[in-house]
Symmetry: C2
Subunit: 201 residues, 2 copies
């Protein structure tokens, strides 16, 4: 059993190293991306949509060329456990999702996925064993036509200098950058002086 | 010159392999994360905030344990070229940003960053050489107090089954999942039958 070009064990190793722990969602995510790759629409380049930010984006980033930073991976915040790979220009895509109708044969996966058990009541060995056994059998596949402009990262456009913080920002955000317009998560902002920076550098 | 635990050349190799190309922003991102790590606030665990989705999240994901999928990396959409690492519980953080006041000595970096030149007018060898030479000298450091609840991924909460698509989704999204409430980027959704799936699986 392989996950894309990796053996199952190699994939688990990558999950641990990139994601930090063997999250059940990321192991199922490996099967999702694997099945999507096997049904890839024809074309030279594909982009990815992940329908949740939880775990699944890391499966896409480990297994495909699509990352958050290069913009080929988008997150559509639907909270559904699904990945779509689509041909960049035509928008023709394949969507693979965890199918709730197929969960009955793997009750530990069902109870985990539908949150029927609290974390401490879950049997994590059994959960991982059922995921490994089930593999693609938890999943269903759809052909979809993607409207890329609905998911793809918007272009940044012209750059301005924010009159408040002095940093560069997208002019389209208005007279000030969004941080200085009040969306900041920071308080007590204090510059560290050049001497400290030298030590740091 | 190192980027965290990697030599500069090793880091470039990782950038190519994860991100697909030697994006200037991701190389500067390496220096940003490196400088932030050197000024890390005391504490056992840190989370990351990236103030743009462009390039920079990949530097964080390559160099730290924080990823989009594990939720330790958040994106605050301010369009500023900055990374903050903060202690998970206290919110004490260090913010490193590309400082527009420091750009004058590296005109090719300035023209690229402030979009003063079109892509085809840029000298990419010179740009990468100036980035390498400048390193931390493009950057400034601040101590900040982060309000984690403003940036951290919200908990998914209870799970429901969407009456339209039949998939699991966060109940807090309403009677139907957000895809089925009209935010879908998909048209022409067609199930691929089990036979095809068997071939694929």
């Amino acid at each position: 059993m392989n996950i894309c070009t990796y053996s199952y064990e190699e994939y688990l190793h990558l999950v641990k190293s990139f994601h930090g722990n063997l999250a059940p969602g990321l192991i199922i995510g490996g099967f999702i991306v694997d099945l999507a790759m096997k049904n890839l629409p024809a074309g030279d380049f594909f982009d990815a949509v992940c329908e949740t930010p939880v775990c699944l984006p890391d499966a896409v980033q480990i297994l495909t060329p699509c990352t958050i930073g290069n913009g080929w991976l988008s997150i559509a915040p639907f909270g559904r456990f699904a990945v779509t790979l689509y041909e960049k220009y035509s928008g023709k895509g394949v969507r693979v999702f965890l199918d709730t109708e197929k969960l009955e044969a793997w009750p530990e996966v069902r109870d985990w996925y539908l949150k029927k058990k609290k974390k401490k009541e879950q049997n994590s060995d059994l959960l991982l064993a059922q995921i490994k056994e089930a593999g693609h059998q938890l999943l269903s596949v759809q052909k979809v036509q993607v409207e890329p402009e609905k998911v793809r990262r918007k272009k940044m456009g012209p750059v301005g200098i924010c009159p408040v913080c002095g940093e560069a920002y997208p002019s389209k955000d208005g007279e000030k950058c969004r941080n200085c317009r009040g969306e900041t998560p920071y308080t007590d902002v204090v510059s560290i002086n050049a001497t400290n920076q030298k030590v740091a550098g």
